[in-house]
């Protein structure tokens, strides 16, 4: 399961690259702060800091970005529990029981539950990855270009169909992304769509385009919103009670385990991501619990279920990204871009040749989860202030940093211009409910898709019957069709389910307000 030589090599690698350790805490803090600011998601936080990682060595860059990822997973929960404001979409389900516990005066315990569930399940996800990464790579190594093409196509279809309310729009976003990714010269030497611009010969610069799509598009749509959050009588934070909450988390191993498994599976499947994972884990915990009526009224199991799914999704999505080189969503797309900037292509060959590096990345992520425990408690003290930062300050500053980051990629003004063009595209896509992540992944994978397709075409001499000699590819294609059908069917059910969940929460909230009989000022 684990290659001990490589494992030792990984420990050696971690011991010798002392510089990379220094990036854990800054990464966690950036992730925590950004995701606590309402309107800024995990992906945006990672996109904005991506250019910075260019100037680090490969291992430090991955450590830094995954730290941001880990921190951002928890950062949104603090305002979710204390103020009923999910800092990022992935902590939406945390508000249900987290804020209810706060109202009962149990906010310290709630924070403890959330923090410890994040830490434990973050570790769990990566420990599992540690064991499966080698067997996974062995399987993936056996597949040829045709199968690889089928898998990539499947990933894109999943991303497109699961990432949005409308399957048709999701698929168009994915197709459009892949087409954008093929601009420039292909492996056969044909030059398309460059409009005579020499910068486009190598294709569209992925980093500025990604930052534009993932970050700026959504930032622009915040322009009309100026959050003024009324200070809600400062709640006293007690480390002792937070730690007590951490300790109590052990009472619910079943909830933790189920949440993690849901998180890992959802993380590994392209297109769903943690922003849905927490809702599904919450709904599942509620459905299977004997006392399901206590959910939404401050049941710690609700907090644990939601948080565990968010934290463990990171390990799951890393599995898909490392083994196949296919990102399952925005966050792993950014990691893939970071790999590419350092001229490393993730996939089975990377795992085979650099196994110690892969183990080092996984082990470092386990360390990050533990460090989060300490940094997270410190962050709770400042979180209330972070949430109240006004959009009018955040927005221009972040746009400036993002623009400069795209300039820093190669010191050319083509970066910021690409960034602007894709900011506009991203804005339009977000506005009309197209999943931007599908376009981003299409853009990143477009070239790879075309190359693998071309290679299979050249191998077969254009004989379609060739596919019949490859049962694996046929199986993947059949699975693809089946999963598409299931998605279309399941989507209706799930949307109804989630709407019912949100409605129930709303009703509960209103009932409580009515019971209090006082108008409630908040947000």
């Amino acid at each position: 399961m684990i290659d001990m030589d490589a494992f030792m090599g990984a420990l050696g690698l971690m011991a010798t690259s002392a510089g990379s350790w220094g990036w854990i805490v800054p990464g966690l803090i950036i992730g925590l702060v950004f995701s606590a600011i309402p309107g800024i998601s995990i992906t945006m936080a990672m996109a904005i800091v991506l250019p910075m990682s260019l100037y680090m060595d490969f291992f430090s860059a991955v450590v830094f970005l995954t730290s941001v990822y880990t921190g951002a997973g928890f950062g949104g929960s603090v305002p979710a529990i204390l103020m009923n404001i999910p800092g990022s979409p992935s902590s939406f389900a945390t508000t249900f029981d987290g804020y209810a516990m706060s109202k009962k005066g149990e906010h310290n315990e709630a924070l403890g539950y959330a923090l410890f569930a994040s830490t434990l399940c973050g570790i769990f996800g990566y420990v599992l990855l540690l064991f499966v990464v080698e067997p996974l790579a062995d399987i993936v190594l056996k597949i040829g270009p045709l199968e690889m093409f089928a898998v990539a196509l499947w990933g894109m279809l999943l991303l497109g169909s699961l990432g949005s309310t409308y399957i048709s729009r999701g698929l168009l976003a994915a197709a459009f992304g892949v087409l954008l990714g093929t601009v420039g010269m292909n492996t056969a030497g044909f030059i398309r769509g460059t409009m005579g611009l020499p910068t486009l010969l190598d294709g569209i610069q992925p980093v500025p385009a990604m930052i534009g799509l993932l970050a700026a598009g959504q930032l622009l749509s915040l322009a009309g919103k100026d959050y003024i959050l009324e200070a809600e009588g400062a709640r006293s934070v007690s480390v002792k009670r937070i730690l007590l909450g951490c300790w109590y988390t052990f009472r619910y191993p079943g909830v933790l385990l189920r949440g993690s498994v849901i998180g890992i599976v959802i993380g590994a499947v392209p297109g769903v991501g943690s922003s849905v994972g927490n809702l599904i884990a919450y709904a599942e915990a509620k459905r299977t619990d004997k006392d399901s009526s206590s959910f939404g009224k401050g049941n710690p199991k609700g907090v644990i279920a939601a948080e565990s799914a968010v934290a463990s999704a990171e390990g799951g999505s890393m599995a898909t990204m490392l083994a196949l080189g296919i990102p399952g969503g925005g966050a792993t797309a950014i990691l893939l871009a970071a790999f590419m900037m350092h001229n490393i292509v993730p996939g089975p060959t990377f795992i085979e040749t650099q196994k110690d590096m892969v183990y080092a990345i996984i082990l470092n992520n386990i360390v990050q989860a533990i460090v989060l425990l300490v940094v997270g408690i410190g962050f709770i003290y400042v979180a209330a202030n972070v949430v109240r930062v006004r959009t009018r300050y955040v927005l221009p500053a972040i746009l400036v940093v993002a623009t400069m980051g795209t300039y820093a990629v190669n010191g050319s003004i083509a970066g910021p211009i690409t960034f602007f063009v894709f900011a506009c595209i991203g804005f339009a896509l977000v506005r009309y409910e197209y999943p931007v992540a599908a376009t981003v992944v299409g853009l990143l994978l477009g070239r790879m898709l075309e190359t693998e397709f071309l290679r299979s075409y050249q191998l077969t001499g254009g004989r379609p019957a060739y596919i019949l000699d490859h049962p694996a590819a046929v199986a993947i294609l059949v699975l693809m069709m089946l999963s598409m059908g299931m998605t279309a069917w399941g989507k209706r059910k799930q949307a109804r389910h989630e709407a019912a969940e949100a409605e129930a929460m709303e009703r509960l909230h209103r009932e409580e307000l009515a019971a209090k009989g006082t108008p409630h000022h908040q947000s």
């Binding site: 309310t165 197709a175 221009p396 900011a423 506009c424 050249q458 949100a502």
Partner: protein, 177 residues
């Protein structure tokens, strides 16, 4: 808009975006075909462009909505449907988007400002451009007090210019700093 005696509400923004995607895809396909019609060139692009164009046709009807007008002034059916859809859309998979005209104008202004900023970075110098962009951006987002409008952009400019000068090996043309 009236069509065959029925009132049809058109989502113009979505329609324009969709047509732009279709135009870009169509142009790309024609451009690729003009380079060469060899299979090595069109293998992926041609089928995918055609699929994309078909998807555009599938999505096109979603830009239109038939509004049944009631004479008695009752709430039109489509509005309740839309309200329900809005609650469905608030599942936070996508950030919730404001629909008021003022907010849309603000967003478009900020987008336009971003475009100006990007193209003026070199001519104005990075420092001046960053200062002007942050000040104007704050003004668009609703800041009116003169002190923050000057102080905050100065801080942003100093931090960003110094920070990136220390970080980047590339030259950064500045006017004042």
């Amino acid at each position: 808009m009236n069509f065959r005696g029925r009132t049809v509400s058109v989502d113009w923004g979505h329609l324009i975006v969709l047509l732009l995607i279709a135009a870009a895809t169509g142009w790309y396909l024609l451009d690729a075909r003009s380079v060469s019609t060899a299979a090595n060139n069109l293998l992926l692009i041609q089928p995918l462009s055609i699929i994309a164009l078909i998807l555009v046709l599938v999505i096109l009807p979603q830009c239109f909505r038939v509004a049944e007008q009631h004479a008695d002034g009752a709430t039109p059916v489509h509005e309740t449907v839309r309200a329900r859809e809005e609650t469905k859309a608030s599942d936070l998979m996508q950030p919730k988007l404001p629909t008021e005209r003022v907010e849309v104008i603000k967003m478009l202004m900020l987008a336009g400002l971003l475009g100006l900023f990007v193209f003026l970075l070199k001519p104005l110098g990075f420092d001046v451009a960053i200062f002007l962009f942050s000040a104007a951006g704050m003004a668009i987002c609703g800041e009116r007090r003169p002190l923050p409008l000057i102080a905050f952009p100065v801080i942003v400019t100093l931090v960003v210019v110094m920070g990136f000068k220390a970080l980047m090996p590339y030259p950064m043309p500045t006017t004042i700093l």
